[in-house]
């Protein structure tokens, strides 16, 4: 008669079936889904492009900045890009709603531009470090490091070694 207890338990618990697609589906926070990219913290090291198993990420240098492209239809959600990103600019969200009609196949792309800046001292074009790298490298804001951050490597060297004369 043990089955009666199981029967009652099952009646009380209700169906085990998830309501989706008629209701919300449960998704773990750590689920690896669609890649998100934050161009304000990207430092342009290209490591994500290098480690990308499917070759879904592409960087290209253009006049206005570093162009970032990700093809979600090639991404295998392995998470290597997020693992190797030094500033955590690239992350995997738990959004798995990626299914689409064939007409939208070539729209499954995210594009972002990491703009170049000019050196505050000599005006040369430079790849900005961003506040996230600043935080990582100097463990907090400090006026001197912030000033150096916006300079090109040459001017930075001059200011660091020769002094503030530049």
């Amino acid at each position: 008669m043990a089955f009666l207890k199981i029967l009652l338990d099952n009646l009380r618990k209700g169906p085990a079936t998830e309501a989706f697609p008629f209701g919300e589906a449960t998704t773990p926070d750590a689920y690896r889904g669609k890649v998100t990219f934050d161009e304000t913290s990207c430092v342009g090291c290209n490591m994500c492009e290098h480690v990308c198993a499917g070759g879904a990420i592409r960087f290209s240098e253009k006049e206005d900045g570093l162009h970032f492209l990700i093809w979600h239809n090639t991404c295998i959600s392995c998470g290597l890009c997020a693992h190797y990103c030094p500033t955590k600019a690239i992350k995997l969200s738990n959004n798995w709603h990626l299914s689409h009609l064939q007409e939208e196949k070539y729209e499954q792309v995210d594009h972002a531009v990491v703009p170049y800046r000019e050196c505050t001292s000599c005006g040369k074009r430079l790849q900005p470090g961003g506040p996230m790298l600043h935080q990582l490298a100097f463990k907090g804001a400090n006026p001197r490091s912030e000033r150096l951050m916006n300079m090109c490597p040459d001017c930075r060297r001059k200011v660091s070694y020769i002094g503030e004369a530049v």
Binding site: P21, S77, W96, S99, Q102
Partner: protein, 142 residues
Amino acid sequence: MDFLSKAARKSPWLYRINAGSCNGCDVELATTACIPRYDVERLGCQYCGSPKHADIVLITGPLTARVKDKVLRVYDEIPDPKVTVAIGVCPISGGVFRESYAIEGPIDRYLPVDVNVPGCPPRPQAIIEGIAKAIEIWAKRA
């Protein structure tokens, strides 16, 4: 006959084609159908064993050179109208096998695909979402 076509609109049968998949997506497809937690048969569809009974075709795998002719032959056996769903990144773009000498895909070079479900593999809920989209298309075509 009118009654039959009305009934067919509500109960499309699913058929799987493995076009050289690693089996990851096939496991997820089996999970989607066989585990009560996901239970794709709530949507009125069920898996069938013969291509001649199929309405919605689920294709996994990057279409390897070796399996290409067989896949196209099986696909031709499925009666029209049919809805084709590409499951996983492999049939959509080639995934990690893209540009390999052994790969003939992406699959839309040879077959008319209707719905894409990317993922490596896509989770069962994502597959159900894709099948729901395919059923909408099927309702218009049947």
